[in-house]
C-alpha cells in the first residue's frame, strides 16, 4: 500500500529521516518495501499483513507513527454544515439481510459535479488511483485516508429512491462499473433499489446508478459488510477491488459514521456540494465494545521480559485501546472497533511487545536439556547418499508431479491433481525413473553430455483410502561410460552389472542381506532380457535393468541406458543388530579354480548353487571370475570359471579333503550337463 508522507504529516509529526521512519515502521510490523521521492513529496510502499486492515489507510499508519515517536495523533476534521430537507425524506435504507450487512449508513448529498481540486487529484494519482470526478474521488480519498470504502449512487437513478441490502436472487444479473454483466447467486450480497440490484455489496458499484456529469443528488453508502460473504462473492466472481480487499479482511464497524462525516466535510471544503441533515444509520444489533484482560505475569511469560505497566498503558492507549486499573487479576483492556484482529489477551500482548520493541527482549535459550539426534533411519539415509555419491552419481531432486502421458508405461492408477500448473505436471509420480530420471538424463544429454550418472531419493505416490500411500525410494540412471575417458585405460560403457553393483553396495552398506534377483517380474519399461526384479525376505524391493528400446525411443535416450529403483522404507528401518565378530582364521585357505562349459542360457547362480550343495561345509566361497563365449567355446555355449575357496576353522585342510570335495563338485556339474575344461 502506498502512503504519501505529506498526507501522513497531516495527522502526525515525523521527527526522523525517511530512512529511519521506514526502518522503524518495518520493525513494528508495517514493512516498508520502498521509499521513493515524488516531486517534493515522498512515497512509502508498505507491505501490510492481511490481519492489519486498520493500517491499510493513511490514518492507521499515522496512529502507529504516533505511538512509535510518542507524539499526539491529530483528529480527522469531520465538521460540516447541513442544508436542505432531511436525508430520510429523499432516501429509504433497509437491511433485509443483517447477516450480510450489520450496518448501513447513508447520507443524501446535493452535488455540483466537476473535476476534483488539484490537491485531491494529485494525492490520488500519486498513490495510483485514477481521478474520475469530484464526488467519486472523495469516496476514494476517504477510503485511502481512513480505510472505509463508500459508494456514491446517483439518487435519481436508484429505483424507488431506496437502498436495500439483501441477498441476490439466484440468476439475477447486474452490470458492474467495469462493464461486465455479472450473473449472481443467492449467496452474493447486493445493494438493490426497489427491484433490481444496483451494486455488488462491498465489491463494486453498478452501471445503472453510476454518478455522472448529470448527477444532482447522491446517495452516499457507507456500510459494514460481513467479511466472509464479501470474500466468497469476490472469489466466486473472480473480482478483487480496493473495497473487497478491505471488507473481506474486516473493516471497522464504526467506520461508516466517521467516513460519511469526513466525506461531508470534504464535500463542503472542496465546494463540490452540500449535505442534507439527518444521517441514516441502520444498525439493527450494535455490538458492545470488545474487551480482554492483560495479566502482567502472562505477558512476561510470553515475551520473556516484564514490560512496565506504564509503558504497556502508553502503547495501548496510543493504539486506541482503553486500559483500566489493575484489579489484582490483570488489567481490563477495551479493544478499539477498528482492531478486528485483536480479541484475546495474547493479541494484546503482541501489541505491547511490538511497540515496546522486539530488540528490548533479551535473547535466551530454552531450558530443560533434551536429547535429540538423528533417528537410525535418518542416519541410514545419509549412508545411502554417501554410497551413491562415492559411486560417482550426482543427486537430483525432481518435482513430485509429472506428466501423465509420459508415465503411460507404468501400471496402476495415478494420483491426479485437481488444479495442476500444466498438463505436464498433472499427476503425482509413481516412479522416480519414469518419467523423472529418464527426462533428467535427456536434459543432460541435450547439453552435450555423454556420461551421466544420476540418483534421487524421494517419495512416490499410490492411491489409498484417505491420504495416498507415500513410499520412499531410491532411483538411479546410468548412461554412457562408467568413468570419464582417461589416457591410461579404455573407457567402458556402463551396463546392467554397474547398476546391480551400486544397488548391492548400498544395501551392503546398510548391513543387511542383498536381494535375491529374478530375471522375470521386472516392470514393462525395461528390456525383458536385461532386467531383474529383486526380493528381500520374499517381498519385492525393486528392479535393475536396461530400458526397453521403445522407452529409450520415447525419451530420446540411448538404448543401453541402465536404471534401477529400490524401495528404501524397510531398508532404512531394518536396523541390523550390532556385528558380533568371529575369530580370525588361523589356518590357511585352499583355492581351486574350475572352468565349466555349459549351455549359453545356463544361469551362473544355478552353477553356484550346485557347487555349494556338493562342496560341503568346507567351502568358504564360490565366485564366477571369468566368462567366455567365443571360439574355441562352441557356439551356443559359454565357459565360466569359478574360484572356490576351502577352509577349516580348526585345522589345516588335507589335500585329500579338498580333492574329494572337488570330485563331488565335478561329478555333479557333469551330471548336470556341464563339460569341465582343463580336467
Amino acid at each position: 500500500m502506498k502512503v504519501l508522507l505529506s498526507w501522513l504529516r497531516e495527522f502526525v509529526d515525523i521527527p526522523v529521516e525517511n530512512r529511519k521512519l521506514a526502518d522503524d515502521l518495518t520493525l513494528v510490523g508495517l514493512a516498508v518495501d520502498t521509499v521513493e521521492s515524488v516531486g517534493k513529496d515522498t512515497l512509502l510502499d508498505l507491505d501490510i499483513t492481511t490481519n492489519r486492515v486498520d493500517c491499510m489507510n493513511v490514518y492507521g499508519v499515522a496512529r502507529e507513527v504516533a505511538v512509535l515517536y510518542r507524539l499526539p495523533l491529530r483528529p480527522l476534521e469531520i465538521a460540516f454544515a447541513e442544508a436542505g430537507p432531511p436525508s430520510s425524506e429523499g432516501l429509504v435504507v433497509e437491511i433485509d439481510a443483517p447477516d450480510l450487512c450489520p450496518r448501513f449508513c447513508a447520507l443524501v448529498l446535493d452535488v455540483r459535479m466537476g473535476p476534483s481540486p488539484a490537491w485531491v487529484r494529485d494525492r490520488l494519482e500519486a498513490v495510483g488511483v485514477r481521478s474520475i470526478n469530484n464526488v467519486v474521488d472523495l469516496t476514494n480519498y476517504v477510503m485511502l485516508e481512513m480505510g472505509q470504502p463508500c459508494h456514491a449512487f446517483d439518487l435519481d437513478r436508484t429505483t424507488g429512491r431506496r437502498l436495500r441490502a439483501r441477498w441476490a436472487a439466484e440468476g439475477e444479473e447486474l452490470r458492474t462499473l467495469d462493464g461486465a454483466l455479472r450473473r449472481l447467486s443467492a449467496r452474493m450480497g447486493v445493494v438493490a433499489g426497489d427491484e433490481a440490484p444496483l451494486a455488488l455489496a462491498g465489491i463494486m458499484g453498478g452501471a445503472s446508478s453510476e454518478v455522472s456529469d448529470e448527477t444532482r443528488t447522491v446517495a452516499l453508502e457507507a456500510a459494514y459488510w460481513d467479511p466472509l460473504s464479501i470474500r466468497r462473492t469476490a472469489k466466486a466472481l473472480g473480482m478483487h477491488t480496493e473495497a473487497s480487499h478491505r471488507f473481506e479482511r474486516g473493516a471497522d464497524p464504526e467506520g461508516p459514521l466517521s467516513a460519511t462525516a469526513r466525506i461531508a466535510h470534504l464535500l463542503q471544503k472542496t465546494g463540490a456540494g452540500s449535505t442534507r441533515p439527518g444521517r441514516i444509520d441502520c444498525h439493527p444489533a450494535p455490538q458492545a465494545r470488545r474487551g480482554a484482560r492483560l495479566r502482567p505475569s502472562r505477558s512476561k511469560t510470553v515475551l520473556g521480559v516484564g514490560v512496565p505497566l506504564a509503558e504497556a498503558r502508553r502503547v495501548l492507549t496510543g493504539l486506541g485501546f482503553t486500559v483500566g486499573p489493575d484489579d489484582g487479576n490483570g488489567t481490563p483492556v477495551g479493544i478499539p472497533s477498528w482492531r478486528g484482529d485483536v480479541s484475546r489477551e495474547i493479541d494484546v500482548i503482541e501489541e505491547v511487545g511490538r511497540h515496546y520493541g522486539l530488540d528490548q527482549i533479551v535473547s535466551s535459550l530454552p531450558g530443560n536439556a533434551v536429547i535429540g539426534g538423528l533417528k537410525p533411519w535418518q542416519a541410514r539415509e545419509r549412508e545411502v547418499r554417501a554410497t551413491l555419491v562415492g559411486a560417482g552419481l550426482a543427486e537430483v531432486i525432481q518435482y513430485a508431479f509429472v506428466s501423465e502421458a509420459e508415465s503411460s508405461t507404468l501400471p496402476g492408477v495415478p494420483v491426479a491433481l485437481e488444479n495442476p500448473i500444466s498438463e505436464e505436471q498433472g499427476i503425482l509420480r509413481s516412479s522416480l525413473v519414469v518419467p523423472g530420471l529418464l527426462s533428467a538424463l535427456r536434459t543432460n544429454l541435450r547439453q552435450g553430455r555423454r556420461d551421466v550418472g544420476l540418483f534421487e531419493i524421494g517419495r512416490v505416490f499410490a492411491p489409498a483410502d484417505a491420504l495416498p500411500r507415500e513410499t520412499k525410494r531410491l532411483g538411479l540412471v546410468l548412461s554412457g561410460n562408467s568413468r570419464p575417458a582417461h589416457w591410461a585405460e579404455k573407457a567402458r560403457p556402463s551396463d546392467f552389472f554397474d547398476a546391480k553393483g551400486i544397488v548391492e553396495a548400498v544395501i551392503r552398506r546398510l548391513g543387511v542381506a542383498t536381494p535375491a534377483w529374478r530375471s522375470d517380474g521386472a516392470p514393462s519399461h525395461l528390456h525383458p532380457g536385461k532386467s531383474a526384479s529383486g526380493t528381500r525376505s520374499g517381498i519385492d524391493c525393486g528392479y535393475v535393468g536396461i530400458v526397453h528400446p521403445d522407452v529409450a525411443r520415447q525419451f530420446e535416450i540411448p538404448e543401453e541406458t541402465v536404471v534401477a529403483e529400490i524401495d528404501l522404507g524397510t531398508l532404512l528401518e531394518d536396523v541390523p543388530a550390532a556385528t558380533r565378530v568371529r575369530a580370525l582364521d588361523r589356518f590357511p585357505a585352499v583355492a581351486r579354480d574350475i572352468s565349466v562349459v555349459v549351455a549359453g542360457d545356463h544361469r551362473a547362480a544355478d552353477l553356484e548353487a550346485t557347487i555349494r550343495a556338493e562342496a560341503g561345509d568346507l567351502l568358504r566361497s564360490a565366485v564366477v571370475v571369468d566368462r567366455y563365449d567365443r571360439p574355441p567355446v562352441p557356439a551356443g555355449k559359454v565357459s565360466l570359471t569359478l574360484s572356490l575357496v576351502f577352509q577349516h576353522a580348526d585345522r589345516t585342510l588335507t589335500g585329500d579333503e579338498v580333492q574329494d570335495a572337488m570330485a563331488r563338485v565335478i561329478g555333479a556339474l557333469r551330471s548336470g550337463g556341464a563339460e569341465i575344461r582343463g580336467e
Binding site: T49, I349, L365, P366, V370, L374, V396, I397, N444, L467
Partner: protein, 359 residues
Amino acid sequence: MSDSSDESKARARALREEFRSSLADSGDLASLQAVRDRFLGRKAGALTSLLKSLGGLGEDERREAGRELNALKSELEAALQDAESRLQAGARETRLEQERIDITLPARPTATGWRHPLTVVRERLEDIFVSMGYEIFDGPEVDDDYHCFEALNMPPDHPARDMQDTFYLKGRRDILLRTHTSTGQIRYMLANPHPPLVRIICPGKVFRRDDDITHSPMFQQVEGLVVGPGISLGDLKGTIEAFLHTLFGPQYPVRFRASYFPYTEPSVEADLGCIVCGGRGCRVCKGTGWVEILGSGMVDPAVFEAVNARIGRTVYDPEEVTGFAFGLGIERVAMILHGVDDIRLFYGNDLRFLEQFGG
C-alpha cells in the same frame, strides 16, 4: 731380510699398482668382475698364484710373505667390494632416473558424485538443530485440510489461505499437497499426547501453485517447534540467533520485526544482515542491508486448543505451556549462501549446475 723376501714384496707392490690401475679403468660391474677374476680368481688369479708360490720359501719367510699377501688380498677384496657398491648405487640411480614418469599427466579419476546443494544445506540445518537437542520429524507430503490449515488457525475462507495457493487432489477439496511443513507441528503434537516437552524440526518438500524466478511449485522448508513450560519470545530470539550465527557466521547481525502468521502470536520475522554487501545495501538486499530469512512466532493458543480438541483432553494447556515455531525455506538459505538467483536451477536436473557443489 732375504732376497726372496724382498722379491716377494716387490711383486706384491707391483701387483697392487697393477690392481689399482685396472680398478680405475673398470666402469661397470662386468669389467669389475674381470678385475676380480684376474687378481683373485681361484685358479688363475695373480694374487692367488703368488700365494701358491710361497710354498718354495723357508718357514719364516713364508709366514711373513703370507701375512703381507693376505693383507693385500683383504685390501683388494675391500676395494672391489667398495667399487661394486658404488657401481650398483650408480646403476640403481640410473634405473630410477629412467623410470621417471610425467606426473603432470591427468590423474586417474576416482568416482566422484555430488549431493544436491539443497541436501547439503538441509543436512547442515539438521545438524545444527540436532546439536541443540532437536529431533527430526517427518510427515506426509500429501496431507489434509485439517493438518495444513484448520488446526493451524486457518478455518475455511480465512484470508491467510490466499497467501498459499494450494494444489488439491482430483475431486478431493480436503486433500492437498502440503503448502508448508507446519503440518509437522500438528502431526507431532497429536502423535505425542503426553506431558509436553517438544523440540523438533520438520524438514520436507512443500508445494504452492507458483512458478517464476523466485518461486518454484515445489520447494523445501524446515519447520521448527519448541513447546514447554515457560518458553518465551526471548527463547525464540536466542534460538534463531544461535542457529543463524552457526550457519552464516557470528559477524552478521540478526534483527526481528513484527509480522503476521495465523498460527503464531506474536509473530516475528527474522532478517539477517546482508552477507553480500555486509549491510551497506546492494541488489540482493534491495538496498536495505537486510535479507529476510525466516518467519516465526509464539505458538498461537488456538493451535494448542485445536490439538487438545483432537486428542480429546487438555494435553497442551496454553495456561501451562507456551512454545515457539519457525519456518524457513531451504532454497532461500542456499540461494543466499551460494549466490543463486533463479530458484528453478535447483530443480532443473542440470549437471552443469549440480557439479559446482562439492559432495
